[in-house]
Amino acid sequence: MTQASFDEFRRAVLADQALQAKLRDITDTAAFIEQALALGQALGYAFTAEDIRNAMQASRRAGIERWVQ
């Protein structure tokens, strides 16, 4: 199941500054998704670009619900 693998990938990146450094300064969304997929694959995770897009969209929504009053 790609969602579980994606969640593990997120935890792995959050626990590793070197992995964060590979992704944190990419501002273009398409380039970021491409790099995140490549990094995930290199680390042995299996998730899709759709998983990433869904997670980003959920984050945007949560941000609006939490902070925009």
Partner: protein, 334 residues
């Protein structure tokens, strides 16, 4: 939120605090290579929260993560604190300091405000806990990710009401109080009302104002009352670590009196960089700075002047007297 791995917070900055069932939750943001150079903290955070990395990896922790982080990765001790009455050049002062790469400057950070006013959300939080979290929060902001040497905090104007707590948390940090002729500040708020000057935006009990019946006072009257509380709070807590600075002393005071007061020396290149930054509008750096004192004085109505005299002239006069005394003493010691 799961167990917190403090090591994973090395490159993360406290961005916002939310309240979940009366417990504070700290939301983190990765700044990457960014420094806090925008006029206000929230502008930098908002910009960074939109980048893909933060959308995907932003996370939250309990506030105690700050205390754990402080123990393993402490920041610089604060170099100076900026307090102010609003619309008096405080953003200019902060922007000049932020223009230098050796400075970390945090301007009116939401998490600082949330902690200073946390009693409203959770009265059970003890003063000792509040102080510990505040010390740890500023320590997190003060980590020198780019080799910085100095750390400044510009507080929100209403934080003069929290001076006793801030001074207890940071008893040795030099601070300044920036102020301006009250008529000019009132005109500024007439043109663009600060949120804190709208009844109900800040709880009356926190401001120490009696709650007024709806419609009992004009917005200008309410604004004058809030400014009176802010200035009186500063005036009542002046100590040997404060330097009073009037708007008309800016921008030069930033690289002269304020620098000396905070124990910092600037090179000629630093002063030139700050001088150059002062040519631009502090709140909107894409615009050139335009002096507005004469204009504000010319448009102030007789009613506004009466309001300023009734509510603010006494404290303004006292601040001016104390400022001139400080200046005379500093001159005698030079």
């Amino acid at each position: 939120m799961g167990a917190v791995n403090i090591a994973q917070l090395a490159d993360w900055t406290p961005a916002r605090i939310s309240w979940e069932r009366s417990a504070p939750v700290l939301h983190w943001c990765c700044l990457g290579r960014e420094r806090f150079v925008e006029p206000f903290f929230e502008q930098t955070i908002s910009k960074r929260l939109r980048v893909p990395f933060n959308l995907l990896f932003q996370h939250a922790t309990p506030l105690d993560a700050l205390v754990e982080l402080q123990a393993v990765d402490p920041g610089l001790p604060p170099t100076g604190f900026i307090f102010h009455m609003s619309r008096c050049g405080s953003t200019l002062a902060a922007q000049l300091l932020a223009a230098l790469p050796q400075n970390i400057v945090i301007s009116e950070a939401g998490p600082v405000d949330a902690l200073l006013r946390c009693g409203l959300h959770a009265p059970s939080i003890s003063r000792a806990q509040q102080i510990a979290w505040l010390q740890a929060l500023l320590s997190a902001y003060a980590r020198p990710h780019h080799g910085e040497k100095h750390f400044y905090v510009k507080f929100d104007s209403w934080h003069t009401l929290a001076l006793p707590l801030i001074q207890e948390a940071f008893p040795t940090v030099p601070w300044i109080f920036l102020y301006r002729d009250p008529v000019q500040v009132l005109v500024s708020h007439q043109r663009q009302r600060g949120a804190q000057m709208v009844p109900g935006q800040l709880p009356a009990e926190w401001l120490g104002l009696e709650a007024l019946p709806a419609g009992a006072a004009s917005l200008d009257e309410y604004c004058a009352r809030v400014l009176e509380r802010i200035c009186n709070a500063a005036s009542q807590h002046l100590n040997d670590r404060v330097r009073l600075i009037s708007y008309h002393q800016l921008p030069a005071a930033v690289w002269t009196e304020i620098a000396t007061h905070c124990g910092v020396e600037y090179s000629a290149a630093d002063c030139a960089a700050m001088h150059e930054t002062a040519h631009f509008d502090a709140k909107n750096p894409s615009l050139t700075f335009a002096p507005d004192t004469e204009n504000k004085e010319s448009v102030a109505s007789a009613d506004l002047r009466r309001l300023a005299d009734a509510r603010l002239l006494p404290v303004y006069t006292a601040l001016e007297a104390r400022r001139k005394l400080q200046k005379a003493r500093a001159g005698a010691q030079a």
